[in-house]
Subunit: 360 residues, 4 copies
């Protein structure tokens, strides 16, 4: 299989940097194009990103010589790459318009931006959970009159720490009625610079603007169905989220209490469901698929962000502390790496899925 | 009113140090005696505590000249003080026996230790919540054949961040059926040295051994009744607690989702209930009583441990973010200072209550 | 003595907030005026500062009703206050021009800004070190044709942690030839928001732009003399500074190695010099003067920022670990509170000095 | 080349865990034996280490089935491995005696312990600096009557962040007269549990017991010569060290001011010397040798512990901020990974060197 030439638009921001870091040496994709604001256009990537490169690793050699394009110049992208990962940060209508323009110009877009999450014919993918939502793409193309292009997005990072673990139980046949989740989220989730250090040293901030709504609502689309070429959200589960910012660099932790429907699994059945869970990425053996998708740790004090965020190269969900809940049925702790699985890494896994399914 | 001469037993540990710090210049109590293990006995307090003094403030001048007694030598305490605050750390049967011996020797004990929390005739006091539980003391004395002595204790620090706020609603006439609470607890709650820094930098630990059980069960005794000279626990509310350790020095934060019974207050009624709440400490104008007992903050991102833990000199409960809960009725965030209100400060407030009521 | 009515210009920023916090209940000064950018003008102070109030304490009651003025409207200030503390943040020429305009309009300015630090007739005061530099004020007024107004400034926060301790030795008669100092500086020194939390968790940044130069050069003006109505910098000591940012909220720590001239004190003589040191603030018994000015701690592991920054209400210098240096003569660790002594608190102490000396 | 079978004694502590982590899949060494205290002996390694396994990675599969031996039972080790890495923690005479016993029984010892650092015929190796010190081994064997065994040690972690960078300049022909270094050291340097989190949150501790002496004196042995079968320390450079503990997990940072002798290199010459530096590990192409040995970073704000500690798989020295020093000649910042290069990783590199030279 030839490598697909890919572009990253919004390449100088923190998510863009993560794309470049994670795409280095990727077996299926090769970054041949980077674009950012007109201010950056025309400079080499290292010069454009300058002191704002915040990855712990150095700028990948493969992009060090790329000259940054203007993200608004779709025609330029078209000559340089076959699809783009979008990490642009504009206001939402502008993002939607820009991503549509790429798609209309035969350049498929896999986006980290939230602008298109609620567009009725745009799939919001967690590849282990709703790989079949890719089937909306032909409808999307038909609606818009697009030939080769399309837009696919990924959901908010906070829900990725717990939703795959909940879905694995649903997939095993246990209806989930409701859940109350409290997240302890890493500062990198806010982008760069994110929270001021003076606010995070010896402190916790019990608010992340807009995050609770996303954490509660996006799962319903992800668990929804396609009807007449549009997504219809699921009725449940009912979700209540308390989202907190804690002084952790990477790794969102979620404490979940969960109420099942009539059929209630035992703790052993739950662990077995998690350990046996395979999504499409695992079945298709996608390059970035974590194996296993869900890691259940027996130690009583796990998962912990610093020790578990890199499981499965940052793509796995790590779960622990499963126990009875005195109010609901069961409770547990789940964790995922927010800037890998919850952002660029999740988008790359989605792109791998879309390629394996023939959309790319 | 003459000052009561008080002793602190277990005076060299972190809780003991907090007692000494908080009792300096107290209007009702004067520390005239300190005791610790035989190893420390005979030394001046500063020499006995040595490098283990961990308060940010200096050793109070009033105790700098005290010679440390042997905590096991009850006879010695009897000549030096009229009551003791207990911060001893032995195994539980030994604590119970020692505290009983003080009481049997006419020395009332107000204890920070958990050993006597479930003794059926020992009150576990949060003065704003169950001041009337002090009425068990005559029964306790009668059962044990004690003349002046008695034992009273305080509950676990973690529940102090949310229970007074929940109780204020019950006191306003709203039945609380169940609640799910996730705590983000400070490292000082574990005593000294507590968690290793290597475990808390860039990390969260989703387990505090034994804490969830205490957080769930102790409220039922606190909300219970006295029948035939013994405590009978309340039937509810049902409580589920997820307890996490976060890199914060002081201040436990709690994210609470709460289900009412049939009578459901509006958000405005809840805030009014909190703001109007007065417990016995406020009504009796006790020296350490925070006024108000409960601070409701309007800012969306509060309470925060570093900014709110010192409210009411560390004795107030600070609440914020009251909002509807998509699963239960309402949810909010509550915070209290775990080493003041949740430990030595709470015990001092209890002793003030007991003095105001004539038991001391 | 009547209280002097004072204004704070640049009142909504972090330094401005610190002025307001520290001036509450001040015995000599009363805040009657606050000003900021035109955008804030006309709003009450709490509304103007909004979510940007970052002090742990609440907005002082005394300023809650003040309506914010436009800092550029000097005429308005003139009717509301007799002097101003300046915390404006504009580019340096604009700051100099604005502060001059206040002074020209009979409003003395004590400034936290660095713009005027190297103006030859503006005193840069550490009241314990160069109180006599206030004597430049008559020259300044004469040069500029100002009647009652003047401008005085304070130096950079980083040098305040070690320079008073070094000066105390010079005052005791020991010539200091050179010193190499490494600072571990708190994030609050960078203002708000300052360093991103993602850069400070589990990390140290070995650069603070421009700080090393200030730390090395400003002491020479402070230790200099007035000749012909202008400051002439001292020849020495030679200073080399390594400035680091560490994950600490408040409190700059400095590790100092120091070389004396021919006359070398013993360690005992040095400690005696520190403990016996009194500057003009102590001699004049100024309200904010720490007593003692320099605290020497015997414990081997002090000073520490969290435990020592509040010594003398944040105005003292805390020193420890004096020992021989294998390369220079001696070495020690010094600490001061950067947002109190090193910023607003130092400026307030300077204003007290200037009032005691009759310039205000 | 067959893999050498190696043992790790003191395998359950933090340094022992690091050995096991770093030796997994090593091309030259295979862990065939682990030993610890009698209390652990007889258990499988995972059971023996229990909750005290503190590495972020899981226990290596290759040791999961090993049964822990008694570190005092040298005869047992002899049948299981050809050399041992020592991470025992006993008092120093006991360590010396135990390590000697292994050596006397034909089991070479490469030790992380400080007990033998000043033994006159034991080499204290930084392979890039004093690889030739291995030549003491024949003398050591002769003195003690050992056939195959020997003891070699590594120096303190703190000096590894700066000494190789200083040595590279000496190797380039520039005499170094004196240096003043301030270190900002990670908490992992103190072993587990190390500093309490309550002491490291929002704080710095300006003391690491014994560390300054080691940082000043050990370089003199490392830079010394072998005369008559014993080490003679170098006369210089004169070193003054200020050692601080900062809230960083891994990575010691050092701020160095350095005075040359008569021949003074330019800044460019210094950078060229660093970039061109090759030690024996690089020349011999040892498996763990970082290439380059010294990384010079141009960015003004580097090195930083979180971003640079993993350079060269944690074995490189990262240097930056070279600039003139107003007191000495030049100054710079250097960093190394204290639990890799500064501990187990450095010892493994030493063992590779000793194998390449035929001593193992």
């Amino acid at each position: 299989m030839n490598k697909l030439s890919v572009g990253v638009i919004g390449a100088t921001g923190m998510v863009g940097q993560n794309y470049l870091r994670l795409l280095e040496n990727h077996p299926w994709f090769e970054v041949t194009y980077v674009a950012a604001s007109p201010r950056s256009a025309g400079k080499t990537y290292p010069r454009a990103v300058g002191g704002r490169w915040v990855m712990d690793q150095a700028i990948p050699a493969s992009v060090a010589d790329l000259v940054v394009g203007d993200a608004g110049d779709v025609e330029a992208a078209r000559t340089e790459c076959e699809m783009v990962f979008s990490a642009v940060s504009l206001d939402k209508p502008a993002v939607r318009e820009l991503e549509n323009t790429y798609a209309a110009n035969d350049i498929p877009v896999v986006s980290n931006n939230s602008a298109h999450r609620w567009t009725t014919d745009v799939p919001m993918l967690i590849p282990e959970v709703n790989a079949h939502h890719a089937e909306i793409i032909p409808f999307q193309r038909q609606h818009r009159g697009w030939a080769k292009g399309f837009v696919a997005v990924k959901p908010n990072c906070s829900l990725q720490s717990y939703l795959p673990a909940v879905y694995a139980l649903m997939a095993a046949g246990y209806e989930v009625e409701s859940l109350i989740v409290t997240t302890l989220q890493a500062v990198s989730g806010a982008g760069y610079p994110g929270p001021a250090s003076i606010d995070m040293i010896d402190n916790v901030i019990p608010l992340i603007g807009g995050e609770e709504e996303k954490t509660e609502q996006e799962p319903l689309k992800i668990l929804g169905t396609i009807e007449d070429g549009a997504f219809v959200s699921a009725d449940g589960p009912a979700i209540s989220a308390h989202c907190n910012r804690v002084p952790v660099t990477d790794g969102h932790t979620a404490c979940v209490s969960l109420q099942f429907g009539a059929k209630k699994p035992s703790l052993e059945e739950i662990i077995a469901s998690w350990r046996g869970f395979e999504g499409q990425p695992q079945k298709l053996d996608l390059p970035s698929a974590p194996k296993p998708a869900i890691v259940y740790r027996e130690e009583q004090d796990r998962p912990q962000p610093r020790k578990d965020r890199d499981a499965g190269n940052g793509q796995a969900i790590v779960v622990g502390r499963l126990r009875e809940c005195p109010v609901f049925d069961v409770r547990f702790v789940a964790l995922s790496h927010n800037t890998v699985r919850g952002a660029a890494g999740g988008a790359i896994l989605s792109a791998e899925l879309l390629r394996a399914k023939g959309y790319l």
